[in-house]
């Protein structure tokens, strides 16, 4: 077991990350150790990044412990770079985080400065030239080799021909150097892509009540919908983010089955979602910013009401589906669609109604024939005990849910083979289906799972009930 990370006090007494735990314990008697959980760290970094979305929508994670913010063009909102840095420092200090930060012309330069700068410098260019060669993050041997050759800083390297560096340490080393110097682009991979339409409101005094926050959200919804109307679009997803003054943020999202520009509908769905939250929206020390984003847009022309009112009725049903899906969960309001397979339990898909699946044609009934598929289907099929006259013959009586059924009429077998073209092991056993009617007139769909030459003692199941 080794130390993954140490705090300032531990550094002061000589502990270092990577040190064996036993050595550290020997060195410092009263050592407080917490198991390292990289997943939790990642989660926390992600939450911090979400909170940093208050400064800029372009926030990139620099795992395991860094965040890169593209603040170009937005720093004046916080009183310039210094004001923005002060705000970041203040919020992170409240969360108990130790912060190292740097500003740079490119993402890689800022990152190298934040992580490796040891000596102050009058300007950015000279600061970069003073960075140790370790800032290139090459292999340890390569770094040692550079230092042995007397090239201790980025500036030393930059004054040599780039081709020599590439020849000795590979093209990656040359690329890393060019990126830090700003000669090559260092693109950001932002955590969230900025939404196409967004409205936000900042408050001088944090809002202490959720009710007030909801009112502000309604105003933001009206603003966002005005923008949608100008662009002839409707929103499918709406995402409200409540930024708390302690730096954390809570996101609440809703979606609709059809593009919408109805602010009242959006607010009704938000109210529905907030009512169904397991842990309610907690203002904590207050919200100091609320943002409403519309990440998914779809074309929506100006609507015209039908004279006979058909469109209005459809809209009412769609809204009901949206509202119920918001309350119960998107997968719990479903529409049925056919799937192209003859395995009965896979022949229908239950898709979320909110995805508005396109209708597909169903198998039409044959004239004059009774239905061959049941009204209710058990998935998985339920095992039954069957008595048949001959082993591979039709069932005579069966026991299901502790009741006996004597079979009076039957039709079958309808043989459904497994999909051998999909699976290597021939896809499993063949099923022989029987449509049966018992003495009380109830109709069931039974099958024997496996032919007698496939399996010694095949089991029987009930798969469905007919009307």
């Amino acid at each position: 077991m080794r130390l993954a990370s140490v705090d300032a006090a531990a550094l002061a007494v000589g502990l270092r990350p990577g040190m064996p735990l036993a050595d550290a314990r020997a060195q410092v008697g009263a050592l407080a150790v917490v198991p390292h959980d990289p997943v939790l760290d990642q989660d926390w970094l992600d939450r911090l990044a979400q909170g940093c979305a208050r400064y800029t929508p372009l926030v990139a994670l620099d795992a395991p412990d860094g965040l890169i913010l593209d603040i170009a063009g937005g720093e004046h909102l916080f009183g310039g770079e210094a004001g923005l840095v002060a705000d970041v420092e203040m919020r992170f200090a409240r969360l108990g985080m130790t912060l190292r930060h740097a500003l740079g012309q490119t993402a890689d330069a800022a990152r190298a400065l934040a992580r490796y700068q040891v000596r102050p410098a009058p300007d950015e260019a000279s600061a970069i030239r003073r960075l140790p060669v370790a800032a290139l993050e090459l292999e340890p041997e390569a770094t040692t080799a550079l230092v042995r050759a007397g090239l201790k800083t980025i500036g030393d390297l930059a004054s040599r021909p780039m081709a020599n560096l590439a020849a000795r340490f590979g093209a990656d080393a040359a690329m890393a150097l060019r990126r830090i110097l700003g000669d090559a682009p260092s693109p950001l991979d932002p955590r969230v892509t900025p939404p196409p339409v967004a409205a936000e409101r900042r408050f001088a005094e944090p809002l202490g009540s959720s009710t007030h926050a909801t009112k502000i959200l309604a105003e933001l919804a009206a603003e966002a919908i005005e923008e949608l109307a100008e662009r002839d679009k409707g929103g499918r997803h709406f995402r409200a983010t409540f930024f708390r003054s302690d730096g954390l943020a809570r996101t609440i999202a809703i979606e609709t089955g059809h593009p919408t520009r109805d602010a009242d509908l959006v607010m009704r769905l938000f109210a529905e979602r907030m009512d169904s939250l397991a842990d309610p929206l907690d203002p904590g020390f207050g919200f100091d910013m609320i943002r409403l984003a519309v990440p998914r847009l779809e074309a929506l022309g100006a609507s015209q009401l039908k004279l006979e009112g058909g469109a209005v009725k459809d809209a009412a049903i769609d809204e009901l589906a949206d509202r119920l899906a918001t309350r119960l969960g998107r997968g719990r309001v479903r529409r049925l669609r056919p799937a192209d397979t003859h395995i009965p339990e896979q022949a229908q898909l239950e898709l979320p109604a909110i995805d508005a699946p396109a209708p597909l044609p169903w198998q039409a009934p044959e004239a004059g024939e009774p239905p061959t598929r049941p009204f209710h289907l058990f998935d998985p099929p339920q095992p039954i005990e069957v008595i048949a006259e001959v082993p591979d013959g039709p069932p005579q009586r069966f026991r299901w849910r502790r009741a006996f059924h004597a079979i009076r009429r039957y039709e079958g077998p309808e043989r459904i083979a497994a999909e051998w073209w999909r699976r290597r092991d021939n896809g499993g056993l063949t099923r022989d289906y029987y449509r049966v009617e018992d003495a009380q007139g109830r109709r069931f769909w039974l099958f024997r799972h496996g032919l007698y030459d496939e399996k010694p003692d095949p089991r029987w199941y009930i798969h469905g009930v007919f009307a």
Partner: protein, 262 residues
């Protein structure tokens, strides 16, 4: 002046106003969901009244499919694309099985009209039902419940019925594995599976239903019917062996079918 300010007089006035506007029962239904079987429809005044509540009790736990199918077929045989909103609890898939669209399609119904809503528990089911009935434009709302439904007391039932009447939504309460209790429903039915008319080679035939009218606001109850579903005509028809409560020998059934075909 003094008279009208008296609280009792005010109440009397309100009662008079309510009585004048027609009250709960006297408002005529906007239409009927007909079964397609003329004698059956005439006997209950044209069919199942739209904008009202109808209860379907499965005669036995095993008759759940028959009750569900009867309610669904009555709603789905209406022309048009109006959706059928079907609310059930999460455990319904295990108890009575998934609603199987290929089977509905083979009965001649359009499964695209189904909007399935799965509530976690009976309380949520009732809350969602209250929302669903207030939404105009559906062919019907089916609320499926299993066993006793203590939350659905007279108050809750009346609230549902009033909501359905105001929005013009037809509400089908599908009560499986349960015994009939007093309620404000317009009609109350007991549905059971009936022996079908056998086909050649003794195969089970078209769906058959045994219906008993337990209660009807508009007239006498207690009538029994035996109906077959004919998916070609999209209608319920007289069962071929009407009145024959004893199952006939299979040979007779075959012969009669053969005669009908000839």
């Amino acid at each position: 002046m003094h008279e009208s300010s008296h609280p009792l007089a005010g109440l009397r006035k309100r009662i008079a106003r309510i009585a004048a506007s027609g009250g709960f029962e006297s408002r005529p239904a906007e239409g009927w969901l007909a079964s397609g079987h003329a004698r059956f429809d005439d006997a209950i005044g044209g069919g199942l009244a739209m904008g009202r509540t109808h209860e379907f009790f499965a005669a036995d736990a095993l008759d759940a499919t028959s009750a569900a199918a009867f309610a669904a077929l009555v709603a789905l045989r209406t022309p048009g694309k109006a959706p059928l909103i079907w609310l059930r609890t999460s455990d319904a898939d295990k108890r009575s099985g998934h609603i199987y669209a290929p089977g509905i399609a083979e009965l001649g119904g359009d499964p695209d009209r189904l909007l399935l809503v799965e509530a976690a528990d009976p309380k949520m089911l009732l809350a969602c039902a209250n929302d669903a009935i207030r939404c105009a434009g559906s062919a019907a709302v089916i609320v499926e419940s299993w066993g006793k439904f203590p939350l659905l007391d007279l108050t809750a039932g009346r609230r549902l019925a009033l909501g359905a009447r105001d929005a013009g939504t037809t509400l089908f309460m599908l009560r499986l594995n349960s015994v009939p209790t007093p309620s404000v429903a317009e009609t109350r039915w007991s549905v059971a599976a009936a022996a079908s008319r056998g086909l050649e080679a003794d195969a089970p035939g078209a769906p058959a239903f045994d219906l008993e009218l337990l209660r009807w606001r508009g007239g006498p109850a207690g009538t029994r019917w035996r109906l077959d579903w004919n998916h070609d005509e999209q209608a319920f028809v007289e069962a071929a062996l009407s009145g024959a409560l004893l199952p006939l020998p299979a040979r007779r059934a075959m012969a009669s079918h053969g005669a009908a075909a000839a």
